[in-house]
């Protein structure tokens, strides 16, 4: 198993262009793409590689790129999504801190392929030091002729700008993100129209996750067939799994899609703290449905997790040992969505508030048994008919918890208190 995204993470000063260029492949992909490939050839190569978005939905990147209009009559934009606000997710940050030039290469190649001259990197506002590292890397790329006018003597021009967000999860949603770039509240837009037709300021726009762009230079250097050979048939390449919670070695692990959840938890992340018993795992960020301890043989790829009734999401794995009170988990998560709903859609605005209220009540020992069906009713009402997917994302974790840990909710109601004396506090 070869790591390519993180291979230089341990090298001293790996964020500098000097180290990046000395590592052999540095900016070779840009050179080859701009001088030896046509935009169509690049999009075909990305399509062939099977690269899927790493921001949560897993949409094929090459296909998305091919939706952009081919003519250059109007300005076109790329937005790189570095909002990274899905609880449990801390992977994009590592690329910025430790190897930002592979991202910049991906952005240049994507821009050339789609005929884009202006790229915005939307980075969450709290990542202040990361924004500085990234700006330094961008400045270095300008100084070395990879950005700006006539890149490497070609007639291709590109500018990359950083846009800092302001602490709102909803700005990670692609249309909320575009509103935010325009200097407005980050309230998602109705789709259609889709960004490739009507994006930032109404111009054609492509939005991809930061990690998605970071795979691109490697695909160009080594070919779609190499990339397709890693992972599974429908989930190709390596990906970054972020492991947090009750494990001995939390962190970001670069592994091929299809690796088992068990291997990630017990081999890479070192197993459960104090060798405790495992109780549940959220496999792909706070929005994905929880799995129980006996389900961890599941392979970590899009199809396998879908079959298991969950989703790979952002690859953010949150591990919980036997001390964990699942009602408290529900409390924390529903609080988050209640706080982050933008309020445009009634089901989402009201639903997130009710869910949190009810779960908090149950945790306090003041719940009624009817509350459980009410929760499921609210959740199913929130699914599928709102402007954006935050509403679904809020419903899923609650459905997941009630599916596998309904007995714990019932026990709170029967005993009129939380029975988990060793659990984390809320």
């Amino acid at each position: 198993m070869e790591r390519y995204l993180t291979k230089n993470f341990d090298v001293q000063d790996s964020e500098t262009i000097k180290v990046y260029l000395s590592q052999g492949e540095g900016y070779k992909a840009v050179e080859n793409a701009l001088k030896k490939m046509t935009p169509e050839q690049i999009i075909d190569e990305i399509k062939k590689s099977g690269l899927r978005g790493r921001g949560g939905a897993g949409f094929p990147a090459g296909l998305k790129w091919s939706f952009m209009p081919k003519d250059n009559a109007r300005p076109k934009y790329i937005c790189c999504n570095a909002d990274e606000s899905e609880p449990g997710t801390f992977k994009d940050r590592q690329i910025i801190e430790k190897d930002p030039h592979q991202l910049i290469e991906g952005l240049i190649i994507g821009a050339y392929a789609m005929g884009v001259n202006t790229v915005y990197i939307y980075i969450r506002g709290e990542y202040a030091s990361q924004a500085k590292i990234l700006q330094n890397a961008i400045d270095e790329a300008y100084d070395n002729g990879y950005l700006g006018k006539n890149v490497l003597g070609t007639d291709f021009n590109i500018d990359i700008y950083i846009h800092r967000g302001g602490g709102a999860y909803i700005c990670g949603e692609e249309t909320g993100l575009m509103e935010s770039i325009e200097g407005k509240k980050g309230q998602p837009r109705k789709k259609p129209p889709f960004p490739a037709g009507y994006g930032v300021w109404g111009y054609p726009t492509t939005i991809n996750n930061l990690e998605t762009f970071s795979h691109v230079s490697h695909i160009i250097n080594r070919g779609a067939d190499w990339f397709k050979g890693i992972g599974t048939e429908k989930s190709t390449g390596n990906t970054l799994f972020g492991v947090s919670g009750h494990v001995k070695r939390p962190g970001v692990y670069e592994l091929p899609f299809g690796v088992s959840l068990k291997e990630i938890i017990y081999e890479h992340a070192g197993g459960i703290r104090n060798d405790n018993e495992l109780k549940g795992v959220i496999p792909g960020g706070s929005s994905t449905k929880i799995l129980t301890a006996d389900m961890i043989d599941v392979r970590m790829d899009h199809d396998s997790l879908m079959q298991a009734g969950s989703s790979i999401g952002t690859g953010a794995i949150i591990v919980m040992d036997h001390t964990t009170c699942m009602v408290r988990v529900g409390c924390v998560l529903s609080h988050f969505y209640r706080h982050e709903t933008c309020g445009q859609c009634t089901q989402c605005r009201e639903g997130t508030a009710w869910m949190h209220q009810i779960i908090a009540r149950i945790e306090k020992g003041e719940g009624e048994i009817e509350d459980l069906d009410i929760l499921l009713d609210i959740a199913s009402n929130m699914e599928g008919n709102t402007i954006c997917a935050l509403s679904d994302a809020a419903a899923w974790p609650v459905q997941g918890l009630l599916r596998y840990f309904r007995d714990e909710f019932e026990e709170h109601i029967k005993q009129k208190k939380c029975p988990f004396t060793d659990s984390f506090l809320v």
């Binding site: 801390f90 709290e126 030091s129 200097g183 972020g242 949150i318 988050f336």
Partner: protein, 158 residues
């Protein structure tokens, strides 16, 4: 009023966009860094610089939680209480900070040096529990670590 330096940074930000209004978030970041919070006066000033009605600046300031609409302490301590941090004791961290600083969540110390907030996931889940003070992250927190951090910020030992 924003300083000369800040005004220059704002002018640079405006150049990134095809419309001036898009620079409102950058401008607010610049202003907050200089002033610590966003006052009515700052809102009016920003509206003037960007040629937009002040209501449009106000809307943005109140939507994005990163901007302080009141004068917070010199050091704004924000503890993440989302899931990965909660699992590893962020409630305990909040309680300990409350005790050490003698103040509740959402409050500031009388000398305006410290204020304390709870926030959602900050992307440090692998190094939980964590907090952010102004722009800096402090990770893998323990009581001892908090003591040292507070001391370095001029908060005397108990």
């Amino acid at each position: 009023m924003l300083s000369e330096d800040a005004r220059r940074s704002v002018e640079d930000s405006i150049k990134k966009y095809s419309q001036k209004k898009a620079a409102v978030l950058s401008t607010l970041h610049i202003a907050q860094k200089e002033k610590g919070w966003i006052s009515e006066e700052t809102i009016e000033e920003i509206a003037g610089i960007l040629d937009i009605p002040s209501i449009e600046v106000k809307e943005v300031v109140s939507f994005y939680t990163i901007f302080n609409l009141r004068d917070v302490g010199k050091y704004h301590i924000q503890v993440c209480t989302n899931l990965s941090c909660s699992l590893l004791g962020s409630r305990h961290i909040v309680n300990y900070l409350e005790k050490r600083l003698g103040l509740g969540v959402g409050k500031s110390t009388e000398d305006k040096r410290f204020s304390l907030s709870e926030v959602e996931c900050l992307g440090s889940c692998g190094t939980a529990p964590m907090m952010q003070i102004n722009e800096d992250y402090y990770e893998n927190l323990t009581e001892e670590k908090i003591d040292k951090i507070l001391e370095s910020l001029g908060h005397a030992q108990k």
